[in-house]
């Protein structure tokens, strides 16, 4: 191989991100996960990331790095912030999840007083696999490890303590990024926590981040995004975690409808139970991709019009 071709291959490899053996191989489906190293994964102690030096550093990163970056690559339109006007105290934010761009976008979209007092539920097996990644995750986005591969009380207890201390949580109830651009069924964890802690849940719909950095890509591509905040939801007395999770999913789906059509049409469909679902049609892969193209065209934002004279 000529030096030029070798250099080009190396450049392509770097541009495409490091792969095995430069980074650990993912655990194949069906194989037992590698036992976590003590002090990592769900055992990682993130309390240092909630002390003032780390909070100041994180605020600086959010405001001086994430915000301008998001402004350039995501040009976000933020809607529905007024729905949080009457809200007070810690809350759980739940959002659909398409991309690694979701978290910085949301951390720069969530308004004060929550913005700098919010922790992000992050997959313990992905973000807390080694000490460096764990420290970076905890410092930059305020990540706390959440177990998604097994049922455990540890994460739940920790999150409950955090909410008790006045921290809000940002959780992705889908459990991971979308594999194909459509959403996934909401799991019950976020709903369970909200019921246990007695805090309201703010549904958020994020539109467009899948085009920036979908799962499997390593280089971002600028695109427009829309973040729509919904009315806070409170679990009713007779609602269990599963039912509340379904309601949360329906609320996020209705917000998705709102961001691609208009508020009133979306409300009519929401009341009639005909909002387009988050998870897409139950058909073959290519037809799902086809249907996604109809829904997510990338430039649906209405142009601002002058009033007709």
């Amino acid at each position: 191989m000529s030096p030029v071709r070798r250099a080009a291959t190396m450049a392509r490899s770097l541009a495409g991100g490091l792969s095995f053996p430069w980074r650990p191989a993912p655990v194949p489906t069906g194989a037992d996960p590698v036992p976590a190293v003590r002090g990592l994964g769900a055992d990682y102690d993130t309390s240092w990331a909630r002390r003032y030096p780390a909070r100041i550093a994180r605020a600086a990163i959010i405001e001086s790095v994430m915000r301008p970056t998001m402004a350039v690559i995501a040009s976000p339109a933020r809607r529905g912030l007024d729905r949080l006007d009457d809200l007070d105290g810690p809350v759980v934010f739940v959002a659909n999840h398409h991309s690694h761009a979701d978290t910085p976008l949301l951390l720069t979209s969530i308004p004060e007083p929550w913005r700098h007092r919010v922790m992000v539920g992050a997959a313990a097996d992905y973000f807390f696999g080694n000490r460096i990644a764990s420290a970076i995750s905890a410092l930059t986005i305020g990540a706390v490890p959440i177990e998604r591969t097994k049922v455990g009380r540890k994460s739940a207890d920790m999150v409950r303590d955090l909410i008790g201390d006045g921290w809000s949580m940002l959780l992705y109830p889908e459990g991971g990024r979308s594999p194909d651009g459509w959403g996934q069924e909401f799991r019950g964890g976020a709903a369970f926590l909200a019921i246990k802690c007695g805090v309201p849940v703010v549904p958020i719909h994020v539109q467009g981040t899948g085009r920036i950095l979908r799962k499997g890509r390593n280089l971002p591509r600028p695109s427009r995004t829309t973040v729509t905040f919904g009315d806070p939801l409170v679990p009713t007395d007779r609602e269990n975690a599963r039912a509340f999770a379904r309601r949360l999913q329906a609320a996020v789906a209705a917000l998705g409808d709102e961001s691609t059509s208009d508020w009133y049409s979306a409300r009519i469909r929401a009341h009639a139970g005909t909002s387009p679902g988050l998870t897409g049609p139950d058909v073959g892969a290519w037809r799902r991709a086809w249907a996604l193209g109809n829904r997510d065209r990338g430039s649906r934002r209405r142009r601002r019009r002058w009033p007709a004279l």
């Binding site: 809607r79 208009d262 508020w263 009133y264 409300r267 009341h271 019009r305 002058w306 009033p307």
Partner: protein, 536 residues
């Protein structure tokens, strides 16, 4: 405000030698005036009442539990119906409130129920009668982006057009021979929902629809000198000929089969905020902290050297943190009774006896110059119309007394918003200032002027007849008072309106003594925040 547990009611301060100078509003500025001890009093407004803890919950409760002879809103909605939601325009509240505006909260709650019922044919109308059209930004502020984006792009959210020959209809005549003109869309709807912000006691009731969705053909029957002179005052519905006429018209509208679901809301007196740069305007002068005093001095001297346009820009950007104090919905008259009680709860201040001289400081804003210029006619309307009429029982000043107002009164007009005002000031007032004469000689000509109608319909101009109504608004005061003096006003503009100009309050009081004699009693109405005098 000052750490009190409950908001304090308004009160009357008897001025003595220890009383501090009083802050007078003076357009986009302030004056500090020392009132004569022993014979002066100052009426202070009540502190802001607490807002409702859950405004959205209260709105929903009101829609589901209406007052009077009305079914709950969901029972009035069905899929195939024609629904029209009308709402108050830019003239309410004053100053404009911070987001979310109450109209947005209420309209979203109404639309959510309409969506639940599957109503497709919905129109939203800014019920501005013959006021100027609202711009996109103003509409967005009032109804919120969600509602605007859902309805405006395809023409289902728009400004009322009282001069659209196809869009208006005469529903009938009252027993007094008054034509009842109404929006055709509203008249043909199965249900009209009207969303009010009742800032003062004058607002709401049948006046919302009978005036807001009407035009010159209907308005001329109650917006005239006779009605205004027989409204004592137009802030007191029971004694207001203006309201009596609107109530008659409301009956005709109902008899024509128009079903109206009325929603009325009241806000507290939190005009300038409990903290922030203007908070001191809500405090009593002796309760100012050192910081307040320094802030006031800095603000006052800064404003004195600042160009007028910059000052206007700063003041126009102020948005009041009003809180919702009540919301009621249902049948118009039953709703309005409750609303009036709630408005009075915030505004009424008991005052004993009338005065020889009434003083007032006029602020930078009135209902008709939001994002605009307070021209001399609006100065007259705010002082002699609105502030003078903020009484129940008897006027604060005795018949033949003197009114002293403080305002720069610039000879300046916004040519986009107030084109007919310019001609009214230059042409009509140069001829006469007598309201009866003005009404007889000039009103029809201005009201039917094609150019003014074109500007009203297609630009952002008040209707050609609007300056006449401003002048009539002050006609009760003009008839009642012995003299009107404006402190710090443009002398030429003040003279044009038939008033006298003074450079200082002391000079104005000297001039007043020619009419009311030496050593007159003086009352200062410290407004805004809004108060209404209950004069016994």
């Amino acid at each position: 405000m000052t750490g009190h547990l409950a908001p304090r009611p308004g009160f009357v301060l008897d001025v003595d030698r220890n009383s501090p100078p009083i802050v007078f509003h003076h357009g986009e500025g302030f004056r500090l005036e020392k009132l004569p001890a022993g014979r002066s009093r100052v009426i202070y407004p009540a502190e802001p009442l607490e807002g409702l803890p859950d405004p959205d919950g209260a709105i929903r409760h009101a829609l589901l539990h209406p007052i009077g002879d009305s079914e709950p809103l969901p029972a009035l909605l069905n899929p195939g119906m024609k629904l029209t939601i009308a709402f108050d325009d830019i003239s309410l509240p004053l100053p404009p409130m911070r987001r979310p505006d109450i109209r947005q909260r209420v309209i979203e709650a109404v639309l959510d129920l309409a969506a639940e019922a599957g109503v497709d044919d919905v129109h939203l109308i800014a019920a501005l009668a013959i006021h100027r059209r609202m711009t996109e930004d103003e509409l967005r502020h009032a109804v919120g982006d969600r509602v605007y984006d859902a309805f405006a792009p395809d023409g289902r959210l728009y400004n009322h057009d009282a001069e659209d020959p196809e869009g208006m209809v005469v529903l009938g005549e009252t027993p007094h021979g008054e034509d009842v003109q109404f929006s055709r869309r509203a008249a043909e709807s199965d249900l009209v929902v009207y969303v009010n912000i009742n800032l003062v006691a004058m607002d709401g009731g049948h006046k919302s629809t009978a005036t807001g969705l009407s035009g010159y053909t209907g308005l001329r029957h109650h917006h005239n000198v006779h009605t205004m002179r027989n409204s004592r005052s137009f802030m007191d519905r029971e004694n207001s000929a203006l309201h009596a006429s609107n109530w008659r018209m409301g009956k005709v509208i109902q008899d024509a089969g128009v079903k109206i679901f009325q929603i009325e809301t009241t806000v507290n007196n939190d005009t300038f905020g409990r903290s922030g740069p203007l908070a001191l305007l809500q405090k009593r002068e002796w309760e100012w902290s050192t910081r307040d005093r320094m802030q006031f001095l800095g603000m006052k001297s800064g404003l004195e050297v600042m160009p007028t346009n910059a000052k206007r820009k700063i003041f126009s950007s102020w948005q009041a943190p009003y809180a919702l104090t009540s919301v009621q919905a249902g049948e118009i008259e039953a709703v309005h009774e409750v609303t009036t009680v709630n408005v009075y709860k915030q505004h009424l201040v008991s005052v004993e006896g009338q005065t020889d001289v009434l003083t007032m400081g006029l602020p930078y804003i009135c209902p008709y110059n939001v994002n605009s210029i307070m021209n001399p006619i609006l100065v007259m309307c705010l002082g002699l119309g609105y502030f003078f009429n903020l009484y129940r029982g008897r006027p604060l000043v005795r018949e033949g007394g003197v009114l002293i107002m403080s305002h720069p009164t610039p000879w300046e007009f916004n040519p986009v918003h107030h084109p007919s005002y310019i001609d009214f000031f230059e042409q009509v007032l140069a001829d006469t200032t007598d309201p009866i004469e003005i009404e007889r000689k000039y009103e029809k000509q201005f009201a039917e002027d094609e150019w003014y109608i074109h500007l009203y319909r297609n630009s952002y101009a008040y209707h050609g007849v609007h300056p006449f109504y401003m002048w009539y608004w002050g006609s009760h005061a003009l008839e009642h008072l012995g003299r009107v003096i404006i402190v710090g006003g443009n002398p030429a503009a003040v003279r044009r309106m038939g008033f006298q100009s003074a450079s200082t309050l002391q000079d104005a009081l000297e001039m007043a003594s020619d009419v009311v004699g030496p050593e007159p009693t003086i009352t200062h109405i410290k407004n805004p925040p809004i108060l209404m005098a209950d004069v016994t």
